[in-house]
């Protein structure tokens, strides 16, 4: 999953093009540590206003951040509104992809909303984007296939 940020150095000091949230967090921490080797994960979490355990999950890509969380993190990282929106869309898309690969998957936006914690409209926006990008094929009422399983990966 990749955002469509313009490839320019962002406020966090990285080129934001093609970065997902967990990549952005990881790169930001690495950059801060390059400046200050003693910079800790806890200090990073504190600067972002999240618990360090939450940050570990986000950086590992195991947690899909909800819109409010993306908004808070984006603000703390100094991202522009448009970049935060893109990051939110990217996270929603990743959440939907992960849900589609679940064993108990049901081809139903309401089910996807329930398991991802995303608003129904955000789920449908993500589905539409996946269809447009040819990353998802709906062949039948119960036959949805991700064309690139990596979409669901961290």
């Amino acid at each position: 999953m990749r955002t469509t940020f313009g490839a320019r150095p962002g406020p966090a000091g990285h080129k934001l093009g093609a970065m997902s949230l967990h990549q952005l967090l990881t790169a930001t921490l690495a950059r801060r540590r390059a400046v200050n080797p003693a910079y800790s994960l806890r200090a990073f979490a504190q600067s972002l206003g999240v618990h360090h355990a939450t940050l570990v999950r986000l950086m590992g890509g195991r947690t899909v951040a909800k819109a409010g969380c993306v908004q808070r993190l984006g603000r703390r990282l100094g991202l522009a509104d448009a970049e935060i929106q893109q990051l939110g869309l990217s996270e929603a898309r990743r959440g939907v992809c992960r849900a589609i690969t679940r064993r108990d998957f049901r081809p139903d936006s309401r089910w996807l909303a329930a398991v991802t914690g995303l608003p129904l409209d955000a789920v449908n926006v993500a589905l539409q984007r996946l269809l447009v990008d040819r990353m998802l094929v709906m062949r039948g009422r119960r036959d949805w296939q991700l064309q690139n399983p990596l979409e669901a990966q961290p």
Partner: protein, 121 residues
Amino acid sequence: MNTPLAAPVTHWQILSTDPARTASFYGRVFGWQISADNAMGYREVAAAPGGIRGGIWPLPPGAPGGVQLFMTVPDVAASAAAAVAEGASVIVPVTALPDGDVMAVLLDPLGQPFGLVQKHG
């Protein structure tokens, strides 16, 4: 030249970055009956007498809104191919919806989006 396909416009769709607000507005002002009681959570607008049914679909923040017309055809894939042969391009490829309908969204040669739908059953 191919024989034109009989493809009546049977559905329209408003694209909105705030579909709840859009639904609320048209519901309050024009009394539209809107229900999202379906698998996609699609806000369906019931057809009033003399009108045709429609819907409201969400857009990501910042995306330009608009209205799309959907034509019912017997075979979405065939009609999409015919449209592409005449200069259209595909946005959403042939897709089977959870309710059994099949749809696709294309851009006509002038860049206007339109939809094709094949009704279930």
